[in-house]
């Protein structure tokens, strides 16, 4: 079954992404949520989602570290990771690329773009 993990410390943003992607549930996708990097890593290990929408600025463990751990340490290179940042700085983009992120999205993102991307990655 297709799984999408949504990681953001802001409940609003998690809810926004849930509303954005909920129609995929009708097509058999499962939405998972994490409110920080540590929880996200646990879920990624246990559930192995195909797509992770990952906020950059979070307490405890930031998105770069999560991304780097997944892609390099755990060598789960097939997981498609989208970094979401509110900073919009090139430095972040470079750090994201170094951490091995597949895509880098600047907030505010367009819900339709996120949905389209998710359909493409999950092939549904």
């Amino acid at each position: 079954m297709s799984k999408i993990l949504i990681v953001d410390d802001e409940p609003h943003i998690r809810y926004l992404l849930e509303l954005t992607l909920e129609e995929l549930e009708d097509d058999g996708a499962e939405l998972l949520f994490a409110e920080n990097g540590a929880i996200a890593l646990e879920i990624i290990r246990a559930e192995q989602p195909q797509l992770v929408l990952l906020d950059v600025m979070m307490p405890e463990m930031d998105g770069f570290t999560v991304c780097d751990t997944v892609k390099n340490e755990l060598a789960m290179k097939d997981i498609y990771i989208v970094l979401l940042t509110a900073k919009g700085q090139e430095l972040d983009r470079n750090k994201g690329e170094a951490a091995g992120a597949d895509l880098y999205m600047t907030k505010p993102f367009n819900p339709d773009d996120v949905l389209e991307l998710a359909r493409k990655i999950l092939n549904i």
Binding site: E10, I13, L19, A86, K107, F109
Partner: protein, 516 residues
Amino acid sequence: MGSHKTCILVVDDDAFVREILASILEADDYQVLTAENGVQALEICRSHDEIDLIVSDVNMPEMDGITLIKTLREQQLDLPVIMVTSVSSISVAVDALSSGAIDYVLKDEGIQETITITVRRALEKHQLKKQNTQLLSDLAAKTSEQQQTLSYLTAIINNMPDGLLVSNSSSVITLANPAIAQMLGMPMDSLIGQNCCQTLKNIFPFMDGTCCEHKQLSTQVTVQLANGRIGSAIGAPVGKVTDTANNEEEFAGNLVIVRDVTAERELDKMKDDFISTVSHELRTPLTSVLGFTKIIRKKLEDIVFPQLPTDEPKVAKAVRQISESTQVIISEGERLTDLINDLLDLSKMEAGKTSWKMAEAKIEDLISRAINSTAALFEQKGLLLSSEVSKDLPLLDCDADRIHQVLLNLLSNALKFTDQGSVIVRVMAESDGFIRFEIEDTGIGIDEAELPLIFEKFKQSGNTMTNRPKGTGLGLAISRQIVEYHNGYIGVVPAAAGSIFYFRLPVGSNDGHYLE
């Protein structure tokens, strides 16, 4: 001695002697005044300041010659006096000389020659003496002027906030001010007399031995100062002019000026942090506002509206109003996003922190990319968009994405301010090695008074109070930064109808920018 005749005062109680002396001297083309004794002579001297020399007898009633000299000197009258004395009283003549007479003449049969020669010699001698006095007083004035300048300079150097260090041609520190001593955390007397290349090479990287060689040192670097402070140091050679005519200089040492820039750097960092924080804090709520509004619109349009009885006028009106209102929220939210992005872009460019990706690009590709991204919008508004690109244009060394940003900006401005007609994009090579890009519209045009302002931040043509601003007001300011980074120039000229915005870029003279 001026244009008037040299004037000699002859003083003698013997009228015969006076006349003889006067006639001898007048024959020599002097102007002659006479007096019978010292008292009379003094009066004449006081009332006639043109007198150049006195020829005086020694023994006279009322006041003798010696007393006359003494009185003249007492009264600060620096007139040369020649004593005329009889042969028998030569000891008196010696007295006279020691009292200040310039010379003496014996009253004998040879007086006609001796007086002429003595007068000439006395005048010359007195002239020399006067010149010498003048020179000495000029020198004293110059010295005092220099001392004053020196004390000003010393006060300036000792009190200036910038640190100053001077070394001579052998790299020995000859001058250091209190500011540099404090900046380096070293007492002044531990600096002066030291070899700067040995003592300070760890602080100033340019003091590496080569700085002692001629004119090597002319550089600006950031240096680490005492107490964790940061300085900006300028080093420059000191030249001593050896030949004014040929402008030749000899290397006389080095000068280092250090400015404490700790506070400036902190401010810069604070500004960057501030912009980054503000941008983050603005984007997060904006993500919710825009995202949820778009979700609401979608749910309304896909699920709610189809369920409504839209044949009821009130419901139809509400549906329309809701659609319009959500659209306003979305477009204004997007404008706010653009504004944040533009502000970040511009502040980074102004701070020189943008990373540029310079590469050779095909101009035709730049133009077709820009036209492709805007063609649909022009079509929607019923405007004709066309391009005229010269054939055989060279490859352009540029950051293609940034030049695209400029073209997009100018095209969307043309779109915004043109209600009917057409927009033409032109590219041509200019004779001076520049490529000229033009975007001509048939829009509202720009008031001539506003032309110099429109490339400034937040300066949009038209009254922003009455006309709702379109866009962020930063597009042209960003475009200018981009074009100027490429060593180009951006400008605007009025067209037959509307305006022509243009920018010129050099084909291959961006040397030096790649390293930034």
